[in-house]
């Protein structure tokens, strides 16, 4: 593919990803409201919020490290939007297929969290520092199970002789559910569960919202951010939701509809794309919306211990079952 074609696709994906991210945030808030028997904000509420934040004054506190404080929102937006380009989009492969693999996506997902933590440290507010420390604790807790899930899927793909095994595109084209035995299916289910638990932590949503914890540390690492910078973080968060849900879809439910309905060509692509968007929404609702309405915030030590012991154990046993399935049954 020529550079210009990639550039054109990238623009479409980035703009579309931003719009979908914000719209899904609206859906998320609407569903949360309906679950609480409220009417809830209109679906376009995130767009209104963003528009309002852009006309507000942007304050840089006197005690903040100004350049670091101002750079971090941009870094968060850049990293989350870049991750979009490495995501398989239903019938279409990643825009930057072959220019980076799943490990890169892991890092791109970690960068916004790191940027928010650095911004919190640079904000000069004790609440920001506390929030940043919590964000780092959480980052260290959930990264290991996340990596285990990715490595397990990649290892099984390489055992099938598929290359490059670490590409999200390969993972999305070769769903493993049909390729493994019964033990492997249990293993994959365990991996899926741990990834679904990691998803709200990655996005710092209830019950894993300790870095922000509005009622406790007044917004934590976001405490000093206002106006345009806050809008950028808001946008980055919305896009990260799509990326994270897209990752779950790519790893575990990459199935299309068009083949089953006997559609092909442009119509099939449109149907598959719509189906992909639906799957992303479904993952978001299951892993983020229902969980954040149904649960209260966990404590810092509960999250650290929960991820290091329980979720890691679940992910590792998933990996072990996959290995056993290959070695014993294979």
């Amino acid at each position: 593919m020529s550079g210009w074609a990639i550039f054109g696709q990238a623009v479409v994906v980035l703009v579309g990803g931003g719009l979908v991210g914000l719209f899904y945030r609206g859906v998320d808030r609407k569903i949360a409201a309906r679950m609480q028997a409220r009417i809830g904000p209109p679906l376009r509420q995130p767009f209104l919020d963003l528009g309002k934040l852009l006309v507000k004054e942007t304050v840089i506190p006197k005690t903040a490290v100004a350049w670091l404080f101002s750079a971090m929102p941009f870094l968060a937006v850049l990293a989350s939007f870049t991750a979009l380009l490495y995501l398989p989009l239903g019938p279409f492969g990643p825009v930057l297929e072959g220019h980076g693999d799943a490990i890169l996506v892991l890092y791109l997902l970690a960068i916004p969290a790191l940027a928010m933590a650095l911004g919190g440290f640079a904000s000069g507010s004790p609440l920001g520092v506390v929030g940043a420390q919590r964000e780092l604790v959480m980052l260290m807790s959930y990264e290991f199970p996340l990596a285990v899930v990715l490595v397990a899927v990649a290892w099984r793909l390489s055992e099938l002789g598929l290359a490059p095994a670490f590409s999200l595109g390969t993972m999305a084209q070769n769903p493993l559910w049909g390729a493994v035995g019964p033990l492997g299916i249990i293993g994959l289910a365990l991996l899926l569960v741990s990834l679904l638990v990691v998803t709200p932590a990655e996005l710092a949503k209830i019950p894993f919202d300790i870095p922000e914890a509005e009622t406790e540390i007044a917004g934590g690492l976001m405490v000093e951010y206002s106006g345009t910078y806050l809008a950028l973080f808001y946008l980055a968060d919305a896009v990260r939701t799509v990326v994270m849900a897209g990752l779950v879809v790519a790893l575990f439910i990459p199935y299309g509809l068009a083949g089953r309905l006997g559609l092909s060509g442009a119509v099939g692509d449109v149907v598959d794309l719509a189906f992909w968007l639906f799957k992303v929404l479904l993952v978001m609702v299951v892993a983020v919306t229902t969980v954040r309405v149904g649960m209260a915030r966990l404590k810092v030590d509960q999250i650290a211990r929960g991820f290091w012991l329980r979720i890691t154990a679940v992910a590792l046993s998933g990996l072990l079952l996959l290995v056993l399935d290959k070695v014993v049954m294979g």
Partner: protein, 142 residues
Amino acid sequence: MGLSAFKRALWVFHVATGSCNGCDIEIVAALTPRYDVERFGIRLVGTPRHADVLLITGPVTRMMAERLKRIYEQTPDPKAVVVVGGCGSTSGVFYESYNLVGPVDRIIPVDVYVPGCPPRPEAIIDGVVKAVAKLEKLGAKV
């Protein structure tokens, strides 16, 4: 995107300056499913930096005066101030009390008063919506 953006996306920060908790409970009541202010885009935020409107309850005790000024300064422009309850509006039953420096409008400029002891949630929502009119007037000047 003008200041009409505020019409449907107001973020509210709640400051208690020595209130008895009556007004504060009514503010929380406005968030409950029965009144559900989120359907108007009104959201309670955790820090003045995110806020468009300050909801202030209480008659302002001596210790809170400095903090109130500071919170007002921390709120990014354009902003509006809504006083909720009789104490904040007029000192109410605490009129000429030795430990008060209020009412609120002696400390910071106030845009909307919501009287009542405590005011009903409908009145609080109405007050917040009236604050939008002030923000829009600011927009007309700009």
